[in-house]
């Protein structure tokens, strides 16, 4: 759920006109349908319609320009004939929205959408002196009855970083800094980079994308067909070879599917991957003081990442636990639009993973169901955290922004002043305000929770993380 879906928008936008004065107050018949849905029967006495249209005509008369009359001199009757419909419609609209504002004020509601209005379709055919009667249908912000959110039991996974993981990370670093060096008189093997010219021929003709010159290809990367790779293995610099590659029947290019291509390949160069030696020099290239320093910093980074992950998991669980002991009423439209969002996201993800469409079709129902559950869970968590904030009187003060700015500086190495200016931008400010607010609310729950630490392995941490996201 996104931040701007919050509740005040509708009310604030309408309230800008200031208080509306009714000649005779409208009457409301409030009917709560459950799930945050309201149906309110409204009757606005005719005196309001008359008064409202009177005012509008007066305004119109002042500056209406009608051919044959100087500005402001047109007779009232002519205006009524010309603008009657528009005035009626506008007056009605004004009255309806004024009535809606009055309703939410007197009933203290937080609508999340503009109401559906029923029963005003034929307003132009009804006499002016009949009362306006219509039904407003709208939903209000989710409601939550918080359970006891103090003293919740949470297990926090703690990962002790071992030397093995540090070594692995450093090994990865070496891989990243790997250099390819030309070797003469060697046979190409896996992980070598070969620079090749090749020409592919199908049915005696070259085909698009089948030829290249000085193309660097890493053996074993599997980007080309395996017959192609096989042929290259063991080849020496300067070797010229040919190989046949049968394209599969379902190859993406229809012209080539099922045919056999003959490639002529010339090996120009063989480069072998060499990893940098683990020495102080290597550490210095990476901006560290020495190898020991590198090891220590990597270990610290890993530890920090792991404990952050553990903390986040614990916070997530804490919020879930609060959700579990609380009861909610969620507006359907909110759940549905959010579920739709997640559903689309999931579809996009599956398409990116190249899951065949038939497969997706088959699982469609499940995906929808999961998306809905996901949406409900997210909204509940969101609402619960906000409600805790309200219940505990949490406010975001300047010092919090200060802290956030420092955190940004720490994280990104940004200049302090720039960080401050970044936070002071209007939209960023309100964005961070909500974020900090929620962080503080979650922190409150954590401070009051009984947190137990449980030592886990890397794999277990990954697994738990995935489960939490599922």
């Amino acid at each position: 759920m996104s931040e701007n879906e919050t509740t005040e928008d509708v009310a604030v936008a309408d309230g800008a006109e200031g208080e509306f004065e009714f000649a005779d107050d409208p009457t409301f018949e409030v009917d709560y349908k459950g799930d945050c849905a309201y149906e309110v029967k409204v009757a606005i006495p005719a005196s309001n319609t008359l008064k409202q249209s009177e005012e509008m005509y007066e305004e119109l008369q002042g500056d209406a320009e009608i051919p044959g009359f100087r500005r402001g001199k047109a007779p009232r009757k002519l205006l009524e004939r010309k603008f009657g419909k528009a005035v009626r419609g506008e007056a009605t609209e004004k009255l309806v929205s004024a009535a809606f504002r009055k309703l939410i004020k007197s009933e203290d509601l937080q609508p999340i959408n503009y109401p559906d209005i029923d029963g005003l379709e034929d307003v132009h055919d009804t006499p002016l002196d009949a009362a306006l009667e219509f039904t407003l249908k709208f939903e209000v912000a989710p409601r939550v009855e918080l359970g006891n959110y103090k003293g919740i039991k949470v297990e926090r996974p703690v990962l002790e970083i071992e030397d093995k993981q540090v070594d692995e990370a450093i090994e990865n670093m070496r891989e990243r800094f790997a250099a390819y060096e030309t070797v003469d008189d060697a046979k190409a093997q896996d992980e070598d980079q070969v620079v090749i010219d090749f020409t592919g021929v199908v049915d005696g003709e070259e085909f698009a994308g089948g030829s290249a010159e000085n193309y660097p290809y890493v053996l074993g990367s599997g980007r080309f067909f395996k017959e192609f790779e096989e042929a290259l293995k063991g080849a020496k610099t300067g070797a010229e070879l040919t190989c046949d590659v049968p394209f599969p029947e379902d190859y993406s290019s229809v012209d080539l599917a099922g045919k056999t291509a003959t490639f002529t390949i010339k090996v120009n160069e063989i480069k072998r991957k060499t990893l940098p030696e683990l020495t102080d020099d290597f550490a210095k290239d990476g901006g560290f003081e020495s190898l020991a320093d590198l090891k220590e910093k990597v270990s610290k980074d890993l530890q920090q990442g792991a404990s952050q992950q553990g903390q986040q998991l614990a916070e997530k669980r804490a919020v879930e636990a609060v959700v579990a002991v609380s009861s909610f009423e969620l507006p359907k439209s909110m759940v549905e639009s959010s579920a739709d969002e997640y559903y689309k996201q999931e579809l996009r993800r599956l398409l990116e993973l190249r899951v065949p469409p038939e497969e997706i079709d088959k699982r469609n129902e499940d995906i929808r169901k999961d998306a809905k559950e996901h949406a409900i869970r997210e909204i509940k968590a969101y609402v619960a955290v906000n409600e805790i904030g309200v219940a505990e009187g949490i406010t975001v003060v300047e010092a919090d922004f200060e802290k956030e700015a420092n955190a940004i500086v720490e994280r990104t190495g940004m200049d302090v002043d720039i960080a401050h200016r970044f936070l002071d931008e209007d939209d960023k400010r309100s964005e961070y305000e909500t974020r900090i607010y929620r962080q503080k609310a979650v922190a409150f729950v954590m401070d009051n929770a009984k947190v137990t630490d449980k030592v886990v392995t890397q794999e277990e941490l990954y697994k738990e993380d995935e489960e939490a996201d599922a």
Binding site: P67, G68, F69, R70, K73, P75, K77, L78, R81
Partner: protein, 97 residues
């Protein structure tokens, strides 16, 4: 061929001036066919508004304005028309708007 009342009286002319004449002197202004004479206009008004009696008809002919086509030298003319100011018997009135 005689013209029907609605063919003679084409439309009322509703302007500020006509408005003033209507309220001050029971005089109503219409656009009428140029061929119609005062008798025909009187009869037509009395046929369309059965409750009124016409005491006097003043007419005036307007020539159509010359209009030029934008961007070319073509010259045309709007049709000519006749304005009729009809005076009613004192106390009679017509609702035009």
């Amino acid at each position: 061929m005689s013209l029907s009342p609605y063919q003679i009286i084409k439309r009322p002319i509703i302007t500020e001036e006509a408005q003033i004449q209507a309220t001050k002197g029971s005089q109503y202004t219409f656009c009428v066919v140029p061929d119609a004479n005062k008798h025909q206009i009187r009869d037509a008004v009395e046929a369309i508004f059965p409750d009124v009696k016409v005491t006097r008809v003043n007419t005036m002919n307007y020539d159509g304005k010359v209009k030029r086509q934008a961007g070319s030298r073509k010259v045309g003319r709007r049709s000519k028309w006749k304005k009729a100011i009809v005076t009613l018997r004192a106390g009679d009135s017509i609702e035009l708007i």
